[in-house]
């Protein structure tokens, strides 16, 4: 698989024609957005002053105006950037993924199936709205994998009957075949209880968590600091989470600045990285040619696809074929 430095070369050399034409579009959109934004703010202030003078700022009309402006600016932004985002994915992300490994297939509008997301059992809440994009599928060193951006939400009603949407998970979700056979279910979750309440009370809270299987305490103190493990077979959990596997998961978590969720179900590993945002989307107000921005696209893709190597899922030491 191609390394990050080779990829950044590829980004600046091979993609240069696409980059420069896209960069022109981007500058154009950015300047128009600034213009519309400025005009919008001035218009909004004028209206606000007028309302303040005539009916007072606390008047319901003021709320209507705020909502109308927010909706309008959202609509204008989306309308102006959709074409650019589509071009960006076609001309930058698609060839980048091809450069990482030609066996990978990229579909910008598709996502990982809801069935796989629910099978992972990482998030206990029922899902009322499920969406996603930037789906990549293929195999690395013979290990099948797929990933995409996912946004899973649930709905609640308050006492007045208003519905509210809450994000259950937003970020990157990856499913890959695991190189060992297993029948049980093992979940590795970020350790929030022990971090908040300390080892004694937090540990006790974890052990009485009714919604999960049994708490499994592992013999790696550093791993225990970062994660809490639940499973229905203590032996299989340790068969999967060997000492070296725990080390690799810790190393991977250290590279991320977001919470990491891992589950082992049905001979597959499911990885959820809670980034809280949509990935692989172009940023309008930063240059495409800027190094840090370019590296963000490149490293995010490379590290996600590189997980197979990172966690050594391609090691065929076992009789599994």
């Amino acid at each position: 698989m191609t390394s990050v430095s080779e990829l950044s070369d590829f980004y600046y050399k091979e993609l240069y024609p696409s980059l420069s034409s896209l960069e022109k579009t981007r500058k154009d959109i950015a300047s128009r957005l600034r213009l519309y934004g400025g005009t919008g703010i001035v218009a909004f202030l004028l209206i606000a002053v007028w309302i303040g003078k005539n009916v007072g700022l606390g008047h319901p009309l003021m709320f209507v105006v705020i909502i109308a402006f927010t909706a309008l600016s959202g609509f204008v932004y989306r309308h102006m950037t959709t074409g650019y985002a589509k071009d960006f994915k076609e001309r930058i992300i698609t060839p980048l993924i091809g450069a990482i490994d030609p066996n990978l297939l990229y579909s910008p509008h598709f996502m990982i199936s809801r069935y796989l997301f629910e099978r992972s059992d990482l998030f206990k809440h029922s899902i009322d709205r499920y969406s996603g994009n930037d789906y990549v599928q293929g195999s690395i060193d013979g290990v099948p994998l797929e990933f995409s951006d996912i946004h899973a939400e649930y709905q609640t009603r308050d006492s007045k009957g208003r519905t509210q949407w809450h994000t259950l998970f937003r970020g990157l979700f990856l499913v890959s075949e695991f190189n060992k056979h297993f029948n049980a279910k093992t979940l590795v979750l970020p350790d929030q209880a022990e971090k908040t309440f300390g080892t004694l009370i937090g540990g006790w809270l974890q052990s009485v968590n009714m919604s999960r299987d049994d708490l499994i305490r592992l013999d790696d103190p550093e791993f225990e600091q970062h994660f809490v493990v639940y499973g229905n077979d203590p032996i299989e959990a340790r068969y999967i989470l060997t000492h070296s596997m725990m080390k690799r998961i810790i190393e991977f978590q250290k590279k991320l600045s977001h919470p990491l969720y891992v589950s082992f179900v049905n001979n597959h590993i499911h990885i959820a990285i809670d980034t809280g945002k949509d990935l692989f989307e172009p940023v309008i107000f930063t240059s495409l040619l800027e190094y840090s921005q370019a590296m963000e696209y490149v490293t995010m893709l490379r590290n996600t696809i590189g997980l197979v190597e990172e966690l050594k899922l391609n090691e065929k030491l076992w009789s599994k074929v």
Partner: protein, 185 residues
């Protein structure tokens, strides 16, 4: 009187909870040991095949192979205590490891698809055994802690529960691989 009854009720509840948690921990140890036993048996099943397929090649390791067969025969005996099984497991693991290392010196063996498949199966079982050992050690540590810590220690004494032995991690397992040593052989 009422207060006395309430206190008595609370005390009874605490005793019951302590009793149940100790029984739970003891059963967990037994339960996991059954799992350990199952994977140890799995390894016993592989050994005759392995010995049969490698003994034609491995002239110099005859004694180790004999030792492995002997240990397997001992392990198959029905009335072994947990401690004896643990000791046998340690001996068998180190004997198998030395065979594994010695096999590298025989190109015929390494080229033999059948033997390699057996070795991979054995590696897999070793990994399962290691997982089972770790699970068992954790369960035993939980039980031993409860037996020694106050106030469950009082209850454990009355229930005649005793400390269990854990699987020792053998010295070879703990040692880091010395690459230089591997090359200079």
């Amino acid at each position: 009187m009422k207060i006395f009854l309430i206190l008595l009720g609370i005390l009874a509840l605490i005793l019951i909870l302590m009793y149940n948690s100790l029984i739970g921990k003891k059963n967990q140890v037994d339960n996991i040991f059954a799992g350990v036993d199952a994977v140890l048996k799995k390894r016993f099943d592989l050994i005759p095949n392995l010995v049969a397929s490698v003994e034609r090649y491995m002239e110099h390791e005859k004694s180790t192979l004999a030792q492995v067969t002997e240990l397997r025969a001992q392990g198959m005996k029905p009335d072994l205590s947990d401690e004896q099984k643990i000791a046998l497991d340690a001996a068998l693991t180190s004997a198998l490891r030395s065979i594994n290392v010695a096999m590298e010196a025989y190109p015929d063996l390494v080229a033999n698809e059948n033997v390699m498949h057996l070795q991979r199966s054995l590696n897999e079982v070793e990994e399962q055994i290691s997982a089972a050992r770790r699970a068992y050690n954790q369960a035993v540590t939980d039980l031993n802690n409860a037996i020694e810590m106050f106030p469950t220690s009082l209850m454990a004494g009355w229930m005649k529960l005793s400390r269990r032995a854990v699987f020792e991690i053998t010295a070879t397992e703990r040692q880091n691989v010395n690459v230089q040593e591997l090359f200079s052989r």
